[in-house]
């Protein structure tokens, strides 16, 4: 493939200065978070869990993108695929960042307290599943599965850059069918463990899908933003074109409607039935100014983008496109915040220093590792058999 010579490696600011700044900012913020944790472990653990889940959602959404491209044998997306492949490889970073959650397990999950369970017949009934030992086994399984799948796709894809062996594409396609099943199961049960079990009496079968839909939106948004950053620095200008941004925007638009559909369905069924053990969660998440946050999500995460991003002119105008992608990320962040934080500030939204320090802390290390890895391989899969299709792609 002649294009292999035309794609420059990442160098300069994005390859060295940006990761350094990220690591420095992240390290300092994590140190601050550790200090805050000593002062108020209860609150800081929740701030940390929120930040953890935000960056985990980007990792999983990116893994989803990679799997679905192979599963559908998509040609249009080949020039974009290296970005989500690299984000998915951050699964091991998230596995390391999971360790503090284990230290804070008693701060976060009250089903881990023996005396609480002893006084609670419902928790006794769930103890066969919700116990610390099994929780740990599941966490290892889920995080292990994500690291394994991310490595599988990344390693083969990078190997193809040099070998050009089309058999690698075939094996990735074959694995993608199993991978999407493993992905769906691990994501659903992972989020049940880490977010839904904060309110262990409550249950919702939509919860995993809800988290997945938001994750996919966030991952698509950040993929577009990374591509636009590369473009800004002069990389891949004629390779990732407006046609690709247009298609990412269409895909994201559909996923965002799916997010709205799932989140409304979850609320609607619980609202209609009005059974105490189901509606308790919404009582908690609609309390005080959390109600305003929920309304902001309905309007800001769904209605505003639904109207603004409907037009192909917004999707194809890269400035408007970029602004919308930032908007989606902010809304997804608020969504995760609304999922977690009513547990610790029940009377309303109250942004604290530990929220910001843990977010910048995890985010800094996360983004640093992303750019470091991105410079280690070609910016696009240069020998992918479907690359010519992607280069010619026209919506």
């Amino acid at each position: 493939m002649s294009s292999s010579t035309k794609v420059p490696r990442l160098s300069g600011f994005l390859a060295s200065t940006l990761p350094k700044i990220s690591f420095l900012l992240g390290g300092l913020s994590l140190a601050l978070t550790a200090v805050l944790w000593r002062g108020n472990p209860h609150h800081t653990a929740f701030s940390y869990l929120f930040s953890f889940l935000f960056f985990l959602s980007i990792t999983l959404g990116s893994l989803f993108f990679v799997i679905i491209q192979h599963l559908t044998r998509a040609g249009w997306s080949v020039v974009l695929r290296r970005i989500p492949e690299t984000f998915a490889m951050n699964a091991w970073v998230m596995a390391v960042f999971f360790l503090p959650i284990l230290f804070g397990i008693h701060e976060l999950y009250h089903w881990t307290h023996a005396d609480v369970v002893a006084a609670d017949p419902i928790l006794q009934g769930k103890a066969g599943y919700l116990n610390i030992k099994f929780f740990l086994v599941r966490a290892v399984l889920f995080l292990g599965a994500w690291v394994w799948m991310a490595r599988y796709f990344y390693k083969k894809s990078v190997k193809q850059d040099s070998s050009g062996d089309p058999k690698l594409t075939l094996s990735m396609q074959a694995f993608s069918a199993a991978a999407i099943l493993i992905f769906a199961i691990t994501l659903t049960f992972g989020i049940i463990d880490w977010a839904m079990s904060l309110t262990p009496h409550w249950y919702s079968t939509m919860f995993g899908v809800y988290f997945f839909a938001g994750s996919a939106v966030a991952a698509f948004a950040i993929m577009s933003l990374v591509a636009l950053t590369l473009r800004r620095f002069g990389y891949l200008k004629d390779i990732i074109r407006v046609e690709h941004y247009h298609d990412v925007a269409k895909f994201l638009y559909g996923l965002n409607i799916f997010w709205a559909y799932v989140s409304f369905s979850q609320y609607f069924l619980i609202w209609y039935a009005n059974i105490p053990e189901e509606s308790v969660w919404f009582m908690q998440h609609f309390n005080g100014s959390w109600n305003t946050v929920a309304a902001t999500l309905a309007i800001g995460h769904f209605f505003v983008p639904f109207l603004i991003f409907m037009s192909k002119h917004t999707r194809r105008n890269l400035t408007a496109h970029c602004a919308m992608m930032v908007w989606f990320l902010v809304m997804h962040c608020l969504d995760i915040y609304w999922l977690i934080m009513p547990n610790i500030t029940p009377n309303g939204i109250h942004i604290s220093v530990s929220d910001i320090s843990s977010f910048v802390g995890i985010g800094g290390i996360y983004i640093g590792f992303f750019w470091l890895r991105l410079r280690n391989a070609s910016l696009i899969p240069v020998q992918d058999p479907r690359l010519p299709e992607s280069l010619r792609h026209h919506t």
Binding site: Y267, F268, Y272, N274, M310, S311, H394
Partner: protein, 178 residues
């Protein structure tokens, strides 16, 4: 004897790129009422022919908004004024309960707008078209690439346009009658 009316001129082109090239030349020459035919869609043909964005999207949006508005109006009228039945302790005006019907009616109206708007903009259903009589044109569904220029175009002249179609690569140019 009845006089036969002229529909326009039909020209065949070698391949998709020749067809695009011909469309660009016609557009640049100022022709408006011309059409291209190919067995499959050709990327970039819209801009080559100088076709502007369809208004269909706006028709769909307007129909969707009408559907949404009528769903809200219907349900509010029924629940709040016509049949004031309290269901499982909910408010008479419970917007949550209205959402599924709002969604369905919006999609239904938008769907009608898309289908029937497309029919109207394309002049469908059309039971007769002058090109149906032309034998050569039948290959347009398998391997033929054609241009027609209608006689209603202000720049149309039988000889001048025929010469122009040949100059821009037309393999055969023939007259099509109504």
């Amino acid at each position: 004897m009845t006089t036969v009316k002229l529909y326009g001129l039909l020209a065949e082109y070698k391949d998709p790129s020749a067809l695009i090239h011909a469309a660009e030349k016609l557009r640049d020459a100022g022709y408006k009422n011309f059409e291209t035919y190919s067995p499959f869609p050709i990327h970039g043909m819209d801009s080559a022919m100088g076709i502007k964005d369809s208004v269909l999207g706006w028709i769909v949006v307007a129909c969707g908004a009408t559907g949404l508005a009528s769903a809200i109006a219907l349900q509010t009228w029924v629940s709040v004024s016509a049949y004031r039945v309290v269901t499982s302790g909910k408010l008479l005006f419970s917007f949550q309960a209205f959402v599924p019907v709002c969604f369905e009616l919006m999609v239904l109206f938008a769907g009608f707008g898309a289908v029937f708007g497309m029919f109207a903009l394309n002049g469908l259903p059309k039971l007769y078209h002058p090109l149906f009589k032309n034998h050569r044109f039948r290959t347009a569904t398998s391997h033929g690439f054609f241009v027609t220029v209608e006689s209603s175009d202000s720049r149309f002249s039988l000889e001048g346009t025929a010469r122009f179609l040949q100059e821009i690569g037309g393999l055969s140019v023939e007259v099509v009658e109504e």
